[in-house]
């Protein structure tokens, strides 16, 4: 079973070493790939100095494009599974084993590292968006995804191929909703996530609201028009 950890990184000079060194030292059974998304800081330089495995995108493509680059690589190198992994240390690699095991046992297409599979979702403003997206997915697909906004998602071989070569396959909840409607098998595994240690989070209040609105619109209105060609 070959698993590739795809780490999109945009201006992560303060985090990338900690994240990748942990993977190299403690999880040598997995391959990893940093995708430097045209960072303006020293992210690429650090990767080069330390001899990390990485893709150096010459221009900034955004998360979706960077992640897709990783999956394109995974597809070409014929990996069995690929996991979307944050470059800022939010995700814990210890859970990958359980996620991969679940995927294999139940022959799933996608396994989400879920903060709320067993634990209750807190009633905070931050989780309001998550609830709305959960509701939108429930209404349109009939499936309950307890942590749709989790950025830790494991994909199987056929998903890797599909994500690598198609338009509108961003690693976001609307793609999950679309896949669910197309009959994909998606499950969740309970994980713990860390607070970001260094650097600035991409999501402030304004961006969160924009993101939530875009996701809900996409799931409720736009995904119906898509035709799946795997």
């Amino acid at each position: 079973m070959r698993i590739l950890i795809v780490i999109p990184a945009y201006n992560e000079q303060e985090n990338i070493e900690r994240v990748v060194d942990d993977l190299i030292q403690n999880y040598p059974q997995y391959d990893y790939l940093v995708v430097n998304d045209g960072s303006k800081d020293r992210t690429a330089a650090i990767c080069r100095e330390k001899g990390y495995h990485f893709l150096d995108l010459p221009v900034n493509l955004g998360l979706a494009g960077a992640f897709q680059a990783g999956l394109r690589y995974a597809d070409r190198m014929d990996y069995d599974m690929a996991i979307q992994f944050d470059g800022d240390g939010q995700h814990n690699p210890q859970y990958i084993e359980a996620m991969a095991a679940k995927m294999e046992e139940e022959s799933l297409d996608v396994v989400i590292g879920s903060r709320f599979w067993e634990k209750k979702k807190p009633f905070s403003l931050r989780m309001l968006g998550s609830r709305m997206i959960q509701l939108a997915i429930k209404i349109t697909t009939g499936v309950t995804i307890k942590d749709p906004t989790s950025g830790m998602r494991l994909f199987n071989r056929s998903m890797i191929h599909e994500f690598a070569h198609n338009l509108n396959y961003g690693p976001e909840p609307d793609t999950i909703a679309y896949l669910l409607r197309g009959g994909a098998r998606v499950q969740e595994v309970q994980v713990e996530m860390n607070e970001r240690i260094a650097g600035e989070s991409y999501l402030n209040l304004k961006r969160s609201i924009e993101y939530m609105t875009r996701m809900c619109m996409s799931i409720v209105l736009i995904q119906w028009f898509r035709k799946r060609r795997a």
Binding site: L55, D56, L57, P58, L61, G65, Q68, A69, R72, Y73
Partner: protein, 120 residues
């Protein structure tokens, strides 16, 4: 349609045609893209020279005056044009994305090959 409006339309159309031709001559516009900017003002000239066309179309569509028909037609054509531009932008975006990813992947593979050669 007043004579003044017709004259204005003709003048502006001719200017547009001239400007488009200049851009082609300077190789700043592809022929495929220039066709629209030639045909569009040409149509306006036609409508200005023969005001009967607009009057007839306005009557059929129940538009109050011929000049309103011209506005309607121009807005419609421009909306179609903007949409087709948006479509093309999406495709360009996808192509750039693919190219960027390919460059990075190929560079990575080339470096790997070099490393294995060195170690041999």
């Amino acid at each position: 349609m007043s004579v003044m409006l017709r004259t204005a339309l003709i003048v502006i159309s001719v200017l547009t045609l001239w400007y488009t031709a200049r851009k082609i001559r300077k190789s700043q516009l592809q022929i495929e893209d220039s066709i629209f900017w030639m045909a569009f003002p040409a149509a306006l000239v036609l409508l200005s020279v023969f005001p009967g066309i607009a009057a007839w179309a306005a009557k059929i569509l129940g538009v109050q005056s011929p000049v309103n028909f011209i506005f309607l037609a121009v807005i419609f054509i421009l909306i179609v044009k903007v949409f087709s531009l948006s479509l093309r932008l999406s495709q360009l975006d996808a192509k750039i994305r693919t190219l960027t990813q390919e460059i990075a992947i190929r560079e990575n593979l080339a470096q790997k090959q070099e490393k294995t050669k060195e170690s041999e």
